[in-house]
């Protein structure tokens, strides 16, 4: 038996306790350790070293069983081994299988040791002290800070601010949230426009809000949100800056010989109607624009523009997609809402109510009122109490504005200043003066409040969180749990589902998918939108349903409208609205893997790709991404002896190369199980005239038969899916990549969630209570230096 090195923290900690504990206990614990160590070493020696020794170096991994005596010092390697062993992913398929007992011995030993080391010496990972708000977070922060929602199209955040960089799908990775001159200019510009709108500046120039109809949006059916008995059209929310006059202009595409009744609605009430006609001879021409002006109050408003449906409309040939049917019916092409003209006042908007908590001619007087308003705004914007120095920095802007246009202008300019402050634009977590290098510490209450709100709401903390932080009560686990529960019940947590789920599953990529127009004539924007809505509603129903997150894989229901039901071959669904449908037993549409959106975004534009789909499942649903392909990977051979190979045959040949087999075996097996879905997620029994074979075999010999088989297989290992889900959610919660040192935290989250039936709430709670969420490593400490050293070593 090897002597134990004296530097191991676990045993140092154990020894430190020894004085207070019975010597017999220590001896027993110590003896047990020696025994378990020996067993683990021999299991590794017997099953792994044929390939992973100094000579074999398979996968560039060399295992030294001696280091098992000090897993803390070699955590990166042993976490990697533990994962392969837990997943039974090693040894490779063509090697003899170790006895199950060996797997369990090593697994138990590594889990116990790695977790004990992590508990004795928490590692919270590396996170920059400045974490810029993402565009989504900025938008939500403006909504919550200023009660500003549904900004006019000219102030669309997609235009105001640049998109953020993503890593592995997530856009909130601190390290990648840069600021360059081009976006700083836009922060300044955005601050100016937002404060003008929120305060209701009487000098606001007219905005021109253009709403162009999507080219592929069908105009021949009823659209959700518009009155029944109408066809096509558009429904938009737009915040009106001032009380005043607004011009609504409707432009058309296509023409008709017949009369069509157009309706314009504001906040559900009909404000104008017109008959659209384009002459009754010859080729139908585009109708002239329809335009009118009306007074409207400031604040949020909803505009609807649509046609009254008439049965004769369908006498003319109508096709589904406008880009293929231009000319059949008059379509709305563009709706422009411009204004305000002749403004009469700032009106009575939610934003003004939020900002102006006092009046300058009231009891407080002008300056004290300004100070009250600005202190409250800065407090919420900076997410913590504001110092006098900081207020002094804001004040001159109030003075300038006051001199130029009075009290409200002063508030407007000061608000502009607040919105470009680095303390608003960045989440700031500064290491306290006493932070010991290399030693993780618990973050402060206000930092924790921000971590909570940006995680669960993608926005700033509300007053309750800030008050709890100020009272020093937020760190208390009971309070934290109660807050998580409250925050999950709040509507703002929809961002957790929509923002997290769409990034985790790359749902945004569906937008840029362009299935081959000639091969998939049925694919259009409504179908694409329906895919997105279905997946989002489905995920929402599972996560908020309170059941197991495993239902994401298995749940036997989905959400469809007529368009999507038609695509899926589901009968008796009519109308454009989405509804929940319970699916028959073993329906291919159960779970995420039956959803058209995911099946489309994992396909090429002309065909399916078992490799892409397999990789997607491994990476996103099992958190076991295949390693990168080796350099000079051979191309797929598509012909043999003059005969064209099927994709399956070609991939089988590819796997004959041992360099490829290791990864492709599992990837392809998963991908082929999904072959009954074509490249736009439609069910098929035959492909290119040949019956689809959706059977495959996993590396460990388990046969998989189609989507049902794959689903059952994934459901058998709930811990594996829960681990993947927790890792992704933790990455999102922290805004950094998950590394080997996070594995103990993830194991704890999954373990605790298992006791609660793997509910979403239990995983969220586990994350909030975890070491990486509640603590941070000082940035100048060993972690950062180690990181630099690793980077250097890589060069």
């Amino acid at each position: 038996m090897r002597p134990m090195p004296g530097t191991k923290p676990l045993y140092a900690a154990v020894l430190a306790c020894a004085a207070a504990l019975a010597g017999a206990w220590l001896a027993e614990r110590y003896g047990l350790f020696e025994q378990n160590l020996a067993a683990a070493q021999s299991a590794i020696g017997a099953n792994c070293l044929d390939c992973h020794d100094e000579i074999g170096r398979s996968g560039d991994l060399v295992l030294d069983p001696a280091t098992l005596a000090d897993v803390g010092g070699h955590a990166e390697v042993w976490e990697k081994v533990l994962r392969k062993i837990t997943d039974r992913a090693m040894p490779p398929p063509d090697e003899p299988r170790p006895p199950e007992e060996d797997y369990l011995t090593v697994e138990r030993f590594l889990v116990a040791e790695l977790d004990a080391v992590a508990a004795a010496r928490p590692n919270a990972g590396d996170l920059p002290q400045l974490h810029r708000l993402t565009r989504t977070e900025y938008r939500n922060a403006i909504r919550d800070l200023l009660a500003l929602e549904g900004l006019p199209a000219e102030l669309d955040f997609e235009l105001l601010l640049p998109a953020d960089n993503r890593s592995s799908g997530f856009d909130n990775i601190a390290e990648l949230l840069f600021i360059a001159p081009s976006n700083m200019e836009r922060y300044i510009d955005t601050a100016r426009r937002i404060s003008r709108l929120a305060v209701g500046d009487m000098n606001t120039p007219p905005l021109v809000n253009r709403h162009r109809m999507a080219l592929q949006l069908p105009q021949d059916t009823h659209l959700p949100g518009l009155p029944l008995g109408t066809r096509g059209g558009l429904l938009v929310e737009s915040f009106l800056p001032l009380d005043g006059e607004y011009v609504i202009r409707v432009e058309f595409a296509g023409g008709s010989h017949e009369l069509h009744e157009l309706e314009v609605l504001v906040n559900g009430e009909r404000v104008a109607a017109a008959t659209v006609v384009t002459g009754n001879r010859g080729f139908p021409r585009r109708p002239p624009p329809f335009q009118f002006r009306l007074p409207l109050p400031a604040g949020p408003a909803q505009f609807g523009v649509t046609f009254v449906e008439r049965s004769e409309a369908f006498d003319e040939s109508t096709l589904r997609v406008r880009r293929r049917s231009r000319g059949a019916l008059p379509d709305i092409e563009l709706v422009t809402i411009s204004g305000p003209f002749n403004p009469t006042g700032p009106g009575d908007t939610p934003s003004r109510a939020r900002i102006f908590t006092c009046t300058p001619d009231g009891e407080l007087g002008e300056r004290a009122c300004a100070s009250e308003v600005l202190t409250a705004l800065a407090h919420r914007a900076y997410r913590r109490p504001v110092s006098d120095i900081e207020l002094d920095e804001i004040w001159p802007f109030y003075e300038t504005g006051f001199a130029e246009g009075g009290f409200e202008r002063g508030i407007q300019y000061a608000l502009e200043r607040i919105l470009v402050s680095p303390q608003f634009l960045y989440r700031v977590e500064i290491d306290p003066p006493g932070a010991e290098p290399g030693k993780a510490y618990a973050i402060g209450s206000f930092e924790l409040a921000s971590r909570l709100s940006f995680f669960l709401w993608s926005s700033i903390p509300d007053d309750e969180l800030l008050e709890l932080a100020a009272a020093g009560r937020l760190q208390d686990p009971g309070t934290l749990q109660a807050q998580v529960e409250r925050m999950l019940a709040d509507p703002r947590s929809t961002s957790l589902v929509s923002n997290f789920a769409s990034q985790w599953l790359f749902l945004g990529d569906i937008e840029s998918k362009d299935p081959d127009l000639y091969l998939f004539r049925d694919y259009d924007e409504t179908l694409r939108d329906a895919f997105a809505i279905e997946t989002e509603l489905f995920i929402d129903s599972v996560l908020r349903g309170g059941g197991s997150i495993l239902e994401l894989i298995t749940a036997n229901h989905t959400f469809v409208n007529e368009r999507l039901a038609e695509h899926y071959g589901l009968a008796n669904i009519e109308g454009s609205h989405f509804r929940r449908v319970e699916l028959p037993e073993d329906s291919p549409r159960a779970g995420l893997l039956g959803k058209g959106g995911i099946l489309t975004l994992t396909s090429y534009s002309t065909r399916t790709s078992p490799v892409l789909r397999g990789k997607y499942v491994l990476e996103n649903l099992l958190a076991a991404p295949p390693p990168p392909p080796p350099r000079d990977v051979p191309s797929l051979v598509t012909e043999q002896d003059g005969a064209v190979l099927t994709l399956r045959e070609a991939l089988e040949r590819h796997r004959e190369d041992p360099a490829c087999a290791g990864c492709h075996y599992e990837m392809d097996a998963i991908g082929f199980a999904l072959e009954n879905f074509d490249a736009v997620g439609q069910w098929r029994d035959r492909s290119a005239g040949v019956e689809v074979d959706a059977r495959s075999e996993l590396p460990d010999g388990t046969p998989i038969d189609g989507i049902t088989g794959l689903r059952n297989h994934l459901a058998q290992r709930p811990d594996r899916f829960a681990r993947a889900f927790s890792e992704k959610l933790l990455m999102y919660a922290l805004g950094r990549n998950i590394q080997y040192y996070d594995a103990p935290a993830v194991r704890a989250i999954v373990r605790d969630a298992a006791n609660d039936g793997y509910s979403f709430a239990s995983i969220v709670e586990g994350i909030v209570l975890s070491v990486p969420f509640r603590m941070r490593n000082p940035r100048d400490g060993t972690a950062a230096n180690a990181a630099a050293a690793v980077t250097e070593a890589n060069r």
Binding site: P128, N165, P205, R417, P628, R779
Partner: protein
């Protein structure tokens, strides 16, 4: 910015219902009316096309001045005398070092930096590239122009899945410093407003510029205070912010120093045109205008992104660009890829022709320019970073002879071209990226 443009008038005209066109219809008819013609200044452009090429259709069969345009380059017949075809160049730093499958991401990151980027999703690996050549040049020649450099794209940034997980490497070629990429802009309206402002009278604009100035002074002080509290490890983030603040201050000063210029401007574009061709043309028109007004002297553009999912159905290519680039040596697929490459140049050529037709000093804008059109990948099917596509347009004010196919010894670093370009602009530089010296551009 104080262009006297009649912008606010144009705006009201529209509000009366005149409507606004998406394209820039007035552009061709415009004549710049500068108070005094500034002395000609060099201009640079870097246009990135990813996913490799089909060499048989791209490389001229013979070298020297008398080369015949190969099929892919036929759209450039009109500007043949103003261009060079460079072959045999490589970016071997983009090759794998056993560190991940990011052949596409590395190709794009290395293009103007010559740096091998490591897979950042691995523990301890941080973003570390290098200041790109366009930025070094911009600091030399653009420091007194209102916008030091402009970064554009005509492709939606890649979001979820990139081969190494780090999509941001394929969304720009321009790096401000080793850890800050310059993000690209896709929306013509945003580009227009950056260049020419968003309306209002010139008095209003001046007041706004002044307030922006005091805003910057104030946040500068605040950021410095914050920097004092940060550990050294994180200074780079706050320095990024401070650096940015100073850059905008510089811009405001330059804008004010210009005084009034009168130039008729087109109507502000409002949306992204729906087709690739119209979008690209509009963005290149804006860039042309930016050169013409001397608003900026350096630009880069993601023209065909690595891993692009763009479909070219309009020219009969059903699949997407990246998919087609993995042609597996299938002649049918290779022909499709070749068709994409030709089409991209067909859409690009009018920009060069327009630069050639725009007077600047004694010659044309193109004469003063060097526009590099190319990418970091040669054989897209096999992910090779050798024999990469590289075309140059313009003679950089007579510094570079044109009209030649220059065939270099295989695997000559493309960084040699960047070194030559920087040296021609009097940037003191001997080595850049993996360069082995300067590139001989004389035929």
């Amino acid at each position: 910015m104080r262009y006297v443009t009649g912008k606010s008038i144009a705006r009201r005209t529209f509000l009366r219902g005149a409507g606004a066109a998406v394209a820039l219809p007035m552009l061709d008819a415009m004549v710049p009316a500068f108070g005094q013609a500034p002395a000609p200044v060099p201009r640079l452009g870097f246009v990135y096309v990813g996913n490799g090429i089909i060499h048989d259709d791209w490389k001229p069969a013979t070298t020297g001045r008398d080369f015949t345009l190969p099929p892919n380059l036929l759209p450039l017949a009109g500007v043949r005398e103003h261009m060079n075809v460079l072959t045999g160049l490589s970016h071997l730093e983009a090759d794998s070092r056993g560190d991940g499958s990011g052949d596409h991401t590395r190709a794009c990151a290395a293009w103007l930096t010559g740096v091998h980027v490591y897979d950042r999703t691995r523990p301890g690996v941080e973003v570390r590239v290098a200041t790109s050549a366009d930025q070094l040049a911009a600091r030399q020649i653009g420091s007194d122009s209102p916008i030091q450099s402009l970064e554009l794209t005509v492709e939606t940034p890649q979001q979820g899945a990139c081969d190494s997980g780090d999509c941001f490497y394929v969304n720009t070629v321009s790096w401000r410093n080793e850890s800050t990429p310059n993000m690209t802009e896709i929306h013509p309206r945003v580009v227009f407003e950056r260049l020419f402002g968003d309306g209002g009278s010139s008095a209003e604009r001046l007041a706004r510029v002044r307030r922006t100035g005091s805003l910057l002074d104030s946040v500068d002080a605040e950021a410095r205070r914050l920097a004092g509290k940060l550990g050294g490890g994180d200074r780079s983030k706050i320095n990024e912010y401070l650096d940015t603040v100073r850059e905008i201050e510089r811009r405001i000063q330059n804008t004010e120093a210009r005084g009034e210029q009168s130039l008729e401007l087109p109507e502000r574009p409002t949306s992204i045109p729906e087709t690739f061709e119209a979008h690209t043309q509009l963005m290149l028109d804006l860039q042309h205008l930016a050169f013409q007004t001397d608003a900026t002297r350096v630009f880069s553009m993601i023209y065909a992104r690595e891993l692009s999912g763009r479909s070219y159905a309009q020219i009969g290519v059903g699949g997407n660009h990246h998919g087609v680039s993995h042609h597996r040596d299938d002649p049918t697929l290779m022909a499709l890829k070749s068709r994409i490459d030709t089409h991209n140049l067909r859409v690009f050529a009018p920009f060069i022709e327009k630069l050639a037709a725009t007077p600047d000093g004694d010659g044309s804008l193109l004469d003063q320019s060097l526009i590099v059109y190319g990418g970091g990948m040669g054989n897209g099917n096999l992910h090779r970073h050798s024999d990469i596509p590289c075309l140059t347009f313009g003679s950089l004010g007579g510094r570079i002879p044109t009209g030649t196919h220059l065939a270099y010894e295989m695997d000559t670093p493309m960084c040699n071209l960047l070194v030559t370009m920087l040296q021609q602009l009097d940037v003191e530089i001997e080595l850049f990226g993996d360069s082995s010296g300067a590139l001989d551009l004389d035929a």
